[in-house]
Symmetry: C2
Subunit: 583 residues, 2 copies
């Protein structure tokens, strides 16, 4: 086996083409081994095996610097400079992250997990090299799907002005996570069909040199192309055509489903995890929206290249037809588009991950909130129980969204809350409304009849005295538990579900002063700039004390949620202890 | 006079070409009249007179819908549908804003002030039209300078998928505020030089139909071109060439200086406002950075198309040479570029308006802060005394920036603070550091020797008891005044300058508990998610009361800062009254 013995790129450079092809085969086996047990990004890595080998063969990493866009296609890159054990041996799986990571290796320069940044980051590396008067290659690798992101296009536009070495490998597998959307993909198609010879060329129109590689899964062809551009003094695009999922028949056939995988049986491709029959909020949202779209032909559901987060698999997208709009990776456009739809008399619902909504702060503020466009935002995976990679945290959306004027940000606890809020948001014309979709489906068993058009009216679920618990959204359950446990000690706490993240119920808060010494808040988000601090400000100059429960402001990475809850004293036991100490 | 008598676009449609040309001349007179007395955006409007007349002649506004990018070139559009008095008569100047505004007229659809959004917004209007089954034209007008913004490119890419009517007028005056930057401008040049015939065409590569108009300042030519594309069923770009500042010799000659103007003498072009000799933070920053760039050849100063905010006029940019980087309107790219520079061993300083830094939240969080890249951000006009249009507010940067982990956000009070902070930020390698540049230069008269590398250490300026005043940045002066006034009533307040926005000095705050009943905070920003709330959270479960002074969360527009201070009780008199009532 070659892979086991590679100590770094120098060993790759010594190999002949036959050995390199054998190495590629071993790397696919290693990918399959890890991914079938551990899960992860499948398609992007299977497609990049040969290109990555060629990069390490031709260039001199880490003197020559590689930046991988999104970096979910760096698995092969990680194998070559001495991290292969994390693909070969189960006991080493957790030694590495799923993204590029400078803490793991000198061959990685950034922690990256959001798309469309690689060209800009590489431009920075190149600029630093130039002012230091050094000479080495800077290479960005970006997938065709990421090209629709505005930052990538900004980067391409700027790159030509560097007037020095930067090589941008465009890995064209004709896919985003789902199919691509946007006019530029017609140009990529034209370039593929003309062997790169078409005069109309997006990259050339941005002022870049251009080279086409018809088979990016052919090591020899890749090596030859990269050798030609190595040490170029002109910003250059190398447009390579690869197959997503290459080498695993099921993934070649169903590219969208195999973009990312849970653990599976390599023989059948079937998941080895049984999720049972329980519905998740993706499916529930999709069903609701499909129903609504039937009734309201002006309702448009928007995604920025992650339709599955709302349950819109291919069959469901087909059902929705023109009422489902995938803008590709282009969150800023998605939000401004939504504002335009609402202003034009349509009804726009934008579903997006908490971690990605931060890619469009300005458009939410300017295009939607200043204009008070009645857009509906559905914010998914906004929880400590969401994704747990440092680049994909779901605990920062409250500080980001809730301090923007005019936005109504709602936190449902139950399925019934959620449905009532979506009904409210999509049938009103007064406000932009965002809904923080819970991570788990919890049914109250009774309909939610609250009138959400009366803003910032919290609900007193049960009245007590001395201490009031204001427990937000999916952490209302912790509040309930705290109340129960306090009752065991003969403390009769008031329990409040605020529902509204973006405002304080001043009348209710004022009334609590009469017979409460302490008001605590519990939220599934970072404390700084969050919900609880607003309550503490309200009571700042009164006799009511407050304690805010939430997370410390820090970048967490590959954590266990229960650990984080304990560290931040958000378990019911700890909260009860604090309350007793305080009263 | 024609202009006075126009009651709407219908009247324009009745006119012959000679009259329209006469109207154009009257409109330039009206622009000159208003701008010389009131100030505003000069160059963009002088260049758009003929194109705007042609738009209203050919299309049927407001049935046909116009969206103007940035909307600082809508003055001519505003004149035609019945807002001309605000250009003709001084007493009506304040009836209108400097941007498009649906509150003023049915012919405006959005309040817009940030760039690169028009295509996306127009796509939304078109999409809404299509799902409603209606037929009318949707027209976006975007300047060439705005094309480098990622959102504009996202919009162009998406537009072709509409498969229905959208007309994008690209107003190419070969200028951003300053000169353009980026490879795509070579393509626009090529298209100008080939009369639009070059095969390599950015817009066609995005899948759009394309039409070229060589003289966009010729009404006949414009009318003829727009008639051809009217009612098109294909997404179409009309690339028109205009001259920025057309018709006013000084503005034609010095396009950058005349992008925007203060009141001036129309004969000489000289400003009628005497600013005296006092230096502002733009000039001060430019001098400091030029000195630093001489000493540190790896220091790169970055702007995203607003070099003047840092004092980098053309002559200063020439002095800085390759160490000054204008990325064009591309804030996301600017921030990722800065992270790349820092990671590559360079030293990056990005100067940006408070209102525009919000265009790059995700890059600050992901590319800079997760990677802890030691980038320096200089945040200008972050104050109630900054720009006062609703789209350009400078009071939201604290909630946006200060809740992102790893970022150190500093608030200087004096010139000496500012210089010491810039020195610190640009010579350390530990943290991303942002500095909130004050609006007024106030010299302490003694050097600032504080060691800012010891994070979150506030400074007790004078010790007292009962009440502590924590006054942030440029509002420290209000704190001083409050302390003085309290002294007159024999209240000896503690006065604290926190300097650090992003963290609490827990040791100091803890120590205040001993002999203080009340801690107040004063900040020049919105309260929600801001600095003061963190102090209130800290003291939530103690005997110390708190009051936070700052602004209510709302979108202000064309306000008087003193009114806002009074409404939010941030005058020294009001604060003293509150403190006395509280003690």
């Amino acid at each position: 086996m070659y892979l086991e013995k590679i100590n770094g790129p120098a060993d790759v450079k010594k190999m002949d083409i036959d050995s390199l092809n054998e190495l590629a085969s071993e790397m696919r086996d290693a990918l399959l081994h890890r991914l079938s047990i551990h899960g992860g990004h499948f398609g992007p890595n299977f497609g990049m095996v040969e290109a990555t080998i060629a990069m390490h063969y031709v260039f001199n990493s880490p003197i020559d610097q590689f930046v991988f866009d999104v970096s979910h296609q760096t698995y092969c890159h990680k194998m070559l400079p001495a991290r292969q054990n994390s693909y070969l041996y189960k006991e080493n799986f957790d030694d590495i992250s799923g993204y590029s990571n400078p803490k793991e290796s000198d061959h990685d320069f950034f922690e990256i997990g959001h798309t469309s940044t690689s060209v800009s980051l590489a431009c920075g590396l190149a600029k630093a090299r130039d002012v230091k008067g050094k000479n080495y290659n800077v290479v960005a690798v970006i997938g065709d799907g990421s090209l629709s992101g505005g930052e990538a296009l900004e980067g391409l536009d700027f790159a030509s002005e560097l007037e020095s070495n930067i090589i941008i490998i465009v890995n064209d597998n004709d896919m985003s996570i789902a199919e691509n959307h946007g006019g530029l993909y017609q140009n990529l198609k034209l370039l593929r069909e003309t062997n790169g010879k078409a005069e109309c060329n997006l990259f050339k129109s941005m002022g870049l040199d251009y080279k086409f590689v018809a088979d990016g899964n052919n090591i020899e062809e890749m090596i030859s192309a990269l050798k030609e551009v190595k040490d170029t003094t002109k910003p250059t695009v190398v447009h390579i055509v690869t197959e997503k999922g290459k080498g695993y028949a099921l993934a070649e056939k169903n590219k969208e489903a195999w973009h990312w995988c849970m653990p599976f049986d390599p023989k059948t491709g079937k998941s080895t995890i049984d999720f049972g029959d329980a519905k998740d909020y993706g499916e529930i949202t999709c069903e609701m929206l499909l129903d609504k779209m039937k009734e309201d032909k002006t309702l448009l559901t928007i995604t920025s290249a992650t339709p599955a987060v709302m349950g819109f698999t291919k069959d469901k997208r087909d059902l929705a037809g023109k009422q489902f709009v995938d803008v590709g990776i282009a969150e800023e456009h998605a939000v401004a588009l939504a504002s335009g739809i609402a202003t034009g008399g349509g009804n726009a619902v934008y579903g997006v991950y908490s971690t990605f909504i931060q890619r469009t702060y300005d458009q939410i503020s300017q295009d939607v909130c200043i204009n008070n466009s009645p857009v509906t935002f559905l914010v998914f995976c906004a929880s400590i129980y969401g994704m747990n990679d440092v680049t994909h945290l779901g605990i920062y959306d409250i500080p980001m969204l809730s301090n923007i004027p005019n936005l109504v940000y709602l936190a449902p606890t139950t399925l019934e809350d959620y449905k009532a809020m979506v009904d409210y948001a999509t049938t009103q014309n007064e406000h932009p409304v965002a809904i923080r979709v819970p991570y788990d489906v919890f049914e109250a068993g009774k309909p939610q009849t609250k009138d959400f058009s009366k803003l910032n009216k919290y609900e007193v679920v049960s009245e007590g005295n001395d201490v009031a618990i204001i427990a937000l959204g999916s952490f209302f359950g912790i509040g309930e538990k705290v109340k129960e446990m306090l009752a065991d000690s003969n403390i009769n706490a008031t329990l409040i579900n605020p529902y509204f993240i973006t405002g304080t119920d001043d009348v209710l808060l004022e009334s609590l002063k009469d017979n409460h010494k302490l008001v605590i808040t519990i939220e599934d988000g970072v404390l700084d700039g969050g919900f609880g601090e607003k309550i503490s400000r309200f009571y700042g100059n009164t006799n009511v004390n407050t304690i805010n429960y939430g997370y410390k402001k820090e970048f967490l990475d590959r954590y266990n949620p229960e650990d984080i809850l304990r560290e931040n004293r958000i378990t019911p036991e700890q909260i009860v202890e604090d309350i007793k100490n305080s009263l």
